[in-house]
């Protein structure tokens, strides 16, 4: 093949027919134009406006323009108000506690709900970009009691420099401590880094906690194993002043780094390095975007020894594949149950076998198991599984998808032992992305970001 032929083939594969796009005079583009022209002065840049709000582009359409205009323009402009309303709705959080026999406890917040754990007494701890949840004022953390009400006496707070919607956390609960890791700078009014242990009963910072993690990139996940806290990093962090990449292991009591446990992972490009951690029986499984561990190829999924942090070489899963994708496949969620390690993410197969963003592995060897479900988005494009939770013979799946096995499921589904869709579980969901999943016996809390009102 000549170079010219290659370029011709690339041109023929152009995925966009420019002429079929909406003309500038059509309703959508015209609205964007009107909003820009009507509300922003034609003076030289006011970069603070966009820079401060650029993160909003992460999940919302029209958000950046709307946000910029909201700050730049005087109040009273109808177009701006309606756009800002869109922002608020896009960033609302929604969720539900679902039981086998109903009833459903709804969860509504003014920001995304990013994490949840069962409290062991029928209630739940939740975290996210909210300042109100079920009508109560809470600063990014809340305790949902078993009766569905918000615990009036549990009021720890997170705060950060970012807009409130972007102050969120991931949670883990062990030995009476609630571990909180996220994009905050202050906890209960104190500057204690971005990973902190709270007394789960009172919400106070655990008195012996001395941890100081200053994350450069996102803190993506936390898990507890043998009294140690494993923290997943999108990229790097400073831990007690020392640079660390991908994974941090802290003493669960004090938060002091475990000097003897330094897992050797390196990020792959600019993609988040570790996205999910699950631990059991001396093993810590990690998933994300890393090419190798301890110099051995383990692209994206690996098992580590919980005492040393070294690679457990016997666990050698097949590489994920993503046919037809621009970028690499990714694993973003893990769950252990019933002798299986479940892996969710963004992929079309593994080891030469088709799997749509969800698969099961033997936790000892990493061999692919027959478990499979057809998970896809509404338009047939590749779905992403963002969260997994297992309880008994059920696997709860949360993420960005529209159907499972051809049946409509908006971001949340429950699967049986072979991957079959559980028909009885179809909570009415308006959640766009299920970011938080937690189970307690046969009860599940599923929540995330909801934009449809």
């Amino acid at each position: 093949m000549t170079d010219d032929q290659a370029l011709d083939r690339l041109a023929a594969a152009d995925p966009v027919d420019e002429n079929a796009l909406p003309a500038p005079g059509d309703a959508g583009p015209a609205r964007v134009l009107s909003a820009i022209v009507a509300s922003t002065p034609t003076t030289k840049p006011a970069p603070r406006l966009l820079l401060g709000l650029r993160p909003l582009t992460a999940v919302a359409s029209l958000v950046v323009v709307a946000a910029a205009l909201a700050l730049a323009s005087p109040p009273g402009q109808g177009a701006v108000r309606s756009l800002v309303d869109e922002i608020r709705s896009v960033f609302a959080g929604e969720g539900a506690v679902v039981r086998d026999d109903g009833p459903v406890q709804p969860l509504r917040a003014d920001g995304i709900i990013t994490s949840a754990v069962a409290d062991g007494r029928g209630g739940w701890f939740v975290a996210g970009g909210f300042t109100r949840i079920n009508g109560e004022r809470r600063a990014h953390l809340a305790h949902l009691l078993a009766d569905g009400s918000i615990d009036p006496d549990w009021t720890p707070s997170l705060a950060g420099r970012a807009p409130a919607h972007y102050t969120w956390a991931r949670l883990a609960l062990a030995d009476g401590r609630l571990y909180v890791a996220g994009t905050f700078e202050m906890v209960n009014g104190e500057r204690r880094g971005q990973v902190v242990a709270l007394d789960a009963a009172t919400g106070a910072i655990a008195p012996e906690w001395r941890g100081l993690v200053d994350a450069v990139d996102a803190l993506t996940t936390v898990a507890v194993s043998s009294g140690r806290l494993w923290v997943g990093l999108g990229g790097g962090a400073l831990v007690a002043g020392e640079p660390v990449r991908c994974l941090v292991v802290l003493d669960g009591q004090t938060g002091v780094p475990e000097a003897a446990i330094r897992p050797a992972l390196e990020p792959s490009g600019d993609l988040p390095c570790v996205q999910a951690i699950v631990a059991n029986a001396g093993r810590v499984y990690v998933a994300g975007h890393f090419p190798a561990v301890d110099g051995t190829q383990r692209p994206g999924i690996a098992a580590l020894d919980s005492e040393s942090g070294r690679l457990l070489a016997a666990f050698d899963p097949p590489a994920l594949a993503c046919d037809g994708c621009f970028g690499p496949p990714g694993a973003t969620a893990l769950a252990l149950s019933g002798g299986r390690l479940y892996v969710g993410g963004f992929f079309t197969g593994a080891g030469g076998e088709a799997r749509s963003s969800l698969l099961a592995l033997d936790p000892a060897t990493g061999s692919l198991q027959p478990f499979a479900a057809e998970i896809s988005r509404e338009n047939g494009s590749i779905a992403t599984v963002l969260n997994l939770a297992a309880a008994g013979d059920r696997l709860y799946v949360g993420g960005d998808f529209g159907s499972v096995d051809g049946q409509a499921r908006n971001g949340f589904a429950v699967l049986g032992p072979s991957g079959e869709l559980q028909q009885g579980w179809q909570p009415e969901s308006t959640t766009d992305y299920v970011l938080a999943l937690a189970t307690a016996r046969r009860v599940v809390l599923a929540a995330g970001a909801g934009g449809r009102r």
């Binding site: 093949m1 000549t2 170079d3 032929q5 370029l7 690339l10 041109a11 023929a12 594969a13 995925p15 966009v16 909406p22 500038p24 005079g25 959508g28 583009p29 964007v32 134009l33 820009i36 022209v37 922003t40 034609t42 003076t43 966009l50 650029r54 993160p55 582009t57 992460a58 999940v59 919302a60 359409s61 029209l62 950046v64 323009v65 994009t183 990139d217 996102a218 993506t220 996940t221 999108g234 600019d270 993609l271 996205q275 993503c322 046919d323 037809g324 994708c325 621009f326 970028g327 690499p328 496949p329 990714g330 963004f346 338009n379 494009s381 590749i382 963002l386 960005d400 992305y433 970011l435």
Partner: protein, 194 residues
Amino acid sequence: MESVDSSVGSEDELRFRRLFADHYRAVLAYALRRCAQRADAEDVAAESFAVAWRRVADTPADPDRERAWLLAIAARVLANQRRSRRRLLGLLERLQGEPPQLALAADESAGTRERHAEVFRALRRLPSRDRELLCLVAWEQLTIGQVGEVLGCTPNAASIRLHRARRRLASELAKAQGTSGHEEIRPRSQGEAP
């Protein structure tokens, strides 16, 4: 060129409205080719024009350079969007590797889809800067000078990089087809006619 209502607005506003009318579809198409979701692409297009509006005084005097100027803005908006997504919503990081949805249009035949998928796979194996350069030429149909403007390099540098990127794409496609590829540029063996 789309018609522009010139009955209202300042000179800057009229210039911006014309830019929007002339190039909105091109900017949206650029973003659609690089975003996993249409909503994300619309974000990129909207923010690109918001930036263009604030910088309208910097619009190139030469109309032939306007498109490249806007695409250069869109490229930076896209990069910022990805960085922000990674930094602040690592848990939502999910779609950077997803193909443009329109690439999987249902009305394409299976053979066409497979041929296109083969191209995407080959493209994916290239360094990201090769990918961007090739797509600017093949999809955005920019001249080499315009490509240089978008990528922030001289036309000469862009030309050299394009030459290498084309070779690498051809090589990847040839590998996918099980052929050696690049017969036309392989070193001549002794005794071979020039």
